[in-house]
C-alpha cells in the first residue's frame, strides 16, 4: 500500500510539473504616471521585499529629478546654478551626466536644457500657451547642453547662462527603470516585467519556450500596431499622442525640437527603441522622433546594441538592420 502511495505521488508530481514559480504585481503612482511592476520568483517574501525596494528607488529618483515639484533637488539646482557651482546628490549627478552624454551623442537633438521652453509651453497642462517668437528666439540663442558645466571630483553643476533650466523628463523614467533592473539582478530576480508609464523593461525570458512580447501602440488609435519579441531588453516609445494640448484646432504635442523651439515636425509620429539600457532607450527614442526616420535610423545603426522601429504619419515603418522578422510582427 505504501508503495502504491509513493507511486501515486510520483505520478501526480510528474503530471503537475511541480511548478514553484510565483509572481507579485504592484501599481505605483510616480513620475506623474503609473508604474506597474510584476516580479517572478520562488519566494513570495523576497518578491514583496523587492517591490518595497523599487518603491524606494523610484520615489527617491522622482524627488530629486522632478521639474514639476518646486521642492525637488532639480528645481533648487535650476534656480541657483547660474555662475555658481552647486553640489548635488550622486543620483542627480548621474542622471545629469547621462543626459549630457546623450545630448552630445545626438548633437543636441535630445537636449536636457529644454526647461526654459517646456516651462513656457506647459503642454498637456492647464498652463499651456504658445510662446511668442521673441521668447523662442531667446532660447535658440542659448548654448543648450554645452552651457551645463560639471565637475566630477566635487560633484558640482554650474550653468553658464541664466536662462538654462534642466528638464530631465526625457530620461528620468528610463533612468529609474534601469536602476530597478540593476537592483532586481542584484537580488537574483531574473524574471520581471517593469512598465514605467509605457517604458518597458523585460527582465529575463517569459518562459523557457518564449520571449516577452511587447506591443507598440498604434499612434493613430487605441490599438496595437506591432509587437516586438525580446528578452533582457528595454522597449521605449516616444509618440506624439502621449501628451498634447489643442489651440484653435491646432494640436501641439509635447516633444519639442530644440533647434526650432516648437513641437517636432519631422514626420515621425512614433519612435521605438529596443536596447539593453532603459535610460539609453528613453533618450534615443526622443532623439529619433525629432531627427526623423532617415537620420534617426542612421543614428541608431551607429550605436551598438540598439535597434529602432520608426513609424511616420502615413504609418510607414522604418526599422534598423537588427530588427528581423522573428523580432517584429506587424499586427
Amino acid at each position: 500500500m505504501k508503495k502504491a502511495f509513493f507511486l501515486f505521488l510520483a505520478a501526480a508530481m510528474l503530471l503537475c510539473g511541480c511548478d514553484k514559480e510565483c509572481s507579485v504585481s504592484e501599481t505605483l503612482f510616480v513620475f506623474d504616471t503609473v508604474l506597474t511592476v510584476t516580479l517572478y520568483g520562488e519566494s513570495g517574501t523576497q518578491l514583496e521585499e523587492a517591490i518595497d525596494g523599487i518603491k524606494i528607488i523610484t520615489d527617491s529618483i522622482n524627488k530629486c529629478a522632478s521639474a514639476h515639484n518646486p521642492d525637488s533637488e532639480l528645481s533648487r539646482l535650476n534656480s541657483s546654478a547660474y555662475n555658481c557651482d552647486i553640489a548635488v546628490s550622486e543620483t542627480l549627478y548621474e542622471i545629469i551626466k547621462t543626459g549630457l552624454y546623450y545630448s552630445e551623442l545626438t548633437d543636441g537633438t535630445l537636449d536636457i536644457t529644454l526647461g526654459y521652453l517646456t516651462e513656457k509651453w506647459a503642454i498637456g497642462t492647464e498652463r499651456f500657451s504658445v510662446p511668442d517668437e521673441e521668447y523662442i528666439g531667446k532660447y535658440k540663442e542659448l548654448d543648450g547642453y554645452r552651457a551645463v558645466l560639471t565637475d566630477d571630483e566635487n560633484r558640482t553643476v554650474r550653468f553658464s547662462d541664466d536662462k538654462i533650466r534642466l528638464d530631465l523628463g526625457g530620461i528620468a523614467k528610463g533612468f529609474a527603470a534601469e536602476k530597478c533592473d540593476e537592483y532586481l539582478r542584484y537580488l537574483g530576480i531574473d524574471k520581471a516585467l517593469l512598465d514605467f508609464g509605457g517604458n518597458i523593461v523585460a527582465v529575463g525570458r517569459k518562459s523557457e519556450d518564449s520571449q516577452w512580447k511587447i506591443g507598440i501602440k498604434n499612434p493613430l488609435d487605441n490599438g496595437i500596431f506591432a509587437a516586438v519579441s525580446c528578452e533582457n531588453k528595454s522597449v521605449v516609445t516616444s509618440g506624439n499622442y502621449e501628451r498634447y494640448s489643442t489651440l484653435d484646432g491646432v494640436r501641439y504635442h509635447h516633444i519639442l525640437d530644440g533647434k526650432t523651439g516648437y513641437p517636432s515636425d519631422s514626420g515621425v509620429i512614433s519612435a521605438t527603441i529596443i536596447a539593453e539600457n532603459s535610460a539609453e532607450a528613453d533618450c534615443l527614442s526622443t532623439a529619433v522622433f525629432v531627427l526623423g526616420a532617415e537620420k534617426g535610423k542612421s543614428l541608431i545603426e551607429s550605436i551598438d546594441g540598439a535597434e529602432a522601429v520608426i513609424i511616420d504619419e502615413n504609418l510607414n515603418v522604418t526599422a534598423t538592420s537588427g530588427i528581423t522578422d522573428d523580432i517584429l510582427e506587424i499586427l
Binding site: K3, A11, T27, D195, G198, K213, I214, I216, I224
Partner: protein
C-alpha cells in the same frame, strides 16, 4: 517489479491523469470571461467577470483626491464621470481587452483587464 506492482502503477497513473483532466476542465469552464480589476492607490478593490455581467450597473470609487463613477456592462467597462481636473479617465472611454488600462492619476484609480491578451506590455 512484479506484474501486480506494474498493474497498480498503471492504474494509479491513469487515475491521476483522470483527476488532473477533471481539474483542468473545471478551471477552464469556470473562467467565463475577461476579468476587470479595479485598483485604488495600488490596492485591488474589485475583480469583475465581465462575461458574467447580465445587467449594466454602476459603482463609485473614492480615491485620494476625489471620486470616479464606473459603469460596467457585459464585456466592457468605463469611467462615466469623475471629479478629476483632466478627465483623462473619462476620455479613455470603454475598454474591453487587456491592451490599455483606464488610469486616473489625480484619484489614483486604475482599471485593468487581466489575462486577456498574449501581449505582455505596451510601449507607448
Amino acid at each position: 517489479m512484479s506484474k501486480r506492482a506494474i498493474a497498480v502503477s498503471a492504474a494509479v497513473i491513469a487515475a491521476a491523469a483522470v483527476i488532473l483532466a477533471a481539474i483542468c476542465i473545471f478551471m477552464l469552464g469556470s473562467r467565463g470571461g475577461d476579468c476587470a480589476c479595479i485598483y485604488s492607490d495600488g490596492k485591488k478593490l474589485y475583480s469583475i467577470n465581465l462575461g458574467a455581467v447580465t445587467e449594466p450597473y454602476e459603482l463609485t470609487v473614492s480615491g485620494k483626491n476625489g471620486t470616479n463613477l464606473i459603469r460596467v456592462e457585459s464585456g466592457r467597462i468605463c469611467v462615466r464621470e469623475a471629479d478629476c481636473p483632466d478627465k483623462t479617465c473619462v476620455n479613455t472611454g470603454w475598454i474591453s481587452d487587456g491592451l490599455f488600462p483606464i488610469i486616473c492619476i489625480p484619484n489614483r484609480l486604475e482599471i485593468r483587464i487581466e489575462n486577456a491578451t498574449e501581449i505582455d506590455g505596451v510601449a507607448q
